[in-house]
Symmetry: C2
Subunit: 218 residues, 2 copies
């Protein structure tokens, strides 16, 4: 498999975690979003959406991270991202899709660019916007996690929810969002970041991160 | 089942279509987004996300439309929204999730309100924004549909893709987007609008639409 991605793209980060959790090998192909490489003809010929991540797998170029994750779990059912029971699957998806649609989407790089270019948004305004959509979803997710009595993970082991949550927690840290009001989220973050599958997927450890200094020594 | 929704909310419209296609009865409970009823305590006690649609079904209050649709298809497998084959399921989800995350999300009413309140966006600027995100996703979807040689529907009968597409085509018409460049989308729209399942789900035919004049006569 080939994963076309960008180190700081939270949707690319989702796929890296998921592939690691499922123990599926992949080659990582960096696509530079800052120079708009994803809008170039070479790339849009592969992916008309002009987005990352793109997963080249089983003879097909696959766009859209949530569709990729659902597909991975159906095509490679070992080490599932979604639990077995229909109700548990709903629980995971409700929280994962809340992040995918209500937080990630308005905070996407393309949206932020539009705000700067068409509304003259300052960096302060961007930061406020960014934290607004994070808080707006983290607060009800925290409420749901409290209702569910969640431990280190939503279920016994990390899956679809953690795959989608951790990249947003990374963004929350970058944008200096205070997570003290969301202790369940902070606890899940700590538990996941202790796992090698999440560590290897982290933006700090990607070759296209300008601050990347090579694989960590054992 | 009870569906809490708003006539013009495109995610509520998704659920109405899906429930009709699956021939599942439901009571429709209008929630007035214009007066922010969804932010009131009575409603957020049911749905901490403060969003529509909310599906009360099988003893549980379920938020997040994409999770609701996936759940409906697992809990009520008759008249499936997703096809059988893993590859076909990916095809449907890639296109459906593109709309859910890249078009619907930035054009959500909450985002438009934020643009007006914090960036002083004029109605012209809102309209341009709105059409921008529609076009940005409709164009690659049209490319995919052309690649797939799509007919009246993505597959033999309408399913997840059409459930998510039609509400956005309705929005496109409201915002005067020219659909002549996307003939596959326009053809799917015409085929779906001819079906009673889509007609009954249409915003024009909901009791909370101020212009609603009662059920159509036979």
């Amino acid at each position: 498999m080939k994963l076309f991605g960008y180190y700081r793209s939270s949707t690319s980060y989702r796929l890296r975690i998921a592939l690691n959790l499922k123990q599926l090998d992949y080659d990582y192909v960096p696509v530079n979003l800052v120079t708009s490489e994803q809008k170039g003809e070479a790339y849009t010929a592969r992916n008309p959406f002009g987005s990352v991540p793109l997963l080249e797998a089983d003879g097909r170029e696959r766009a859209q991270s949530m569709a990729q994750l659902e597909w991975l779990d159906e095509a490679y059912p070992e080490r599932p991202l979604l639990p077995d029971g229909i109700e548990q699957r709903f629980t995971a998806r409700e929280l994962a899709y809340a992040i995918a649609t209500e937080t990630h989407a308005p905070n996407n790089l393309q949206v932020l660019k539009y705000l700067k270019e068409h509304f003259g948004a300052s960096q302060d305004q961007i930061d406020t916007w960014y934290r607004h959509w994070l808080t707006r979803t983290f607060t009800p997710i925290e409420a749901r996690l409290a209702q569910l009595g969640t431990g280190d993970y939503l279920f016994d082991q990390p899956g679809l929810f953690e795959v989608v949550l951790l990249p947003q927690v990374y963004n929350a840290r970058r944008f200096a969002l205070d997570l003290s009001a969301t202790p369940h989220i902070a606890r899940i973050e700590a538990a996941c970041l202790a796992l090698p599958e999440f560590q290897r997927a982290h933006p700090d450890n990607q070759p296209d991160n300008p601050e990347f200094s090579g694989p960590e020594k054992d």
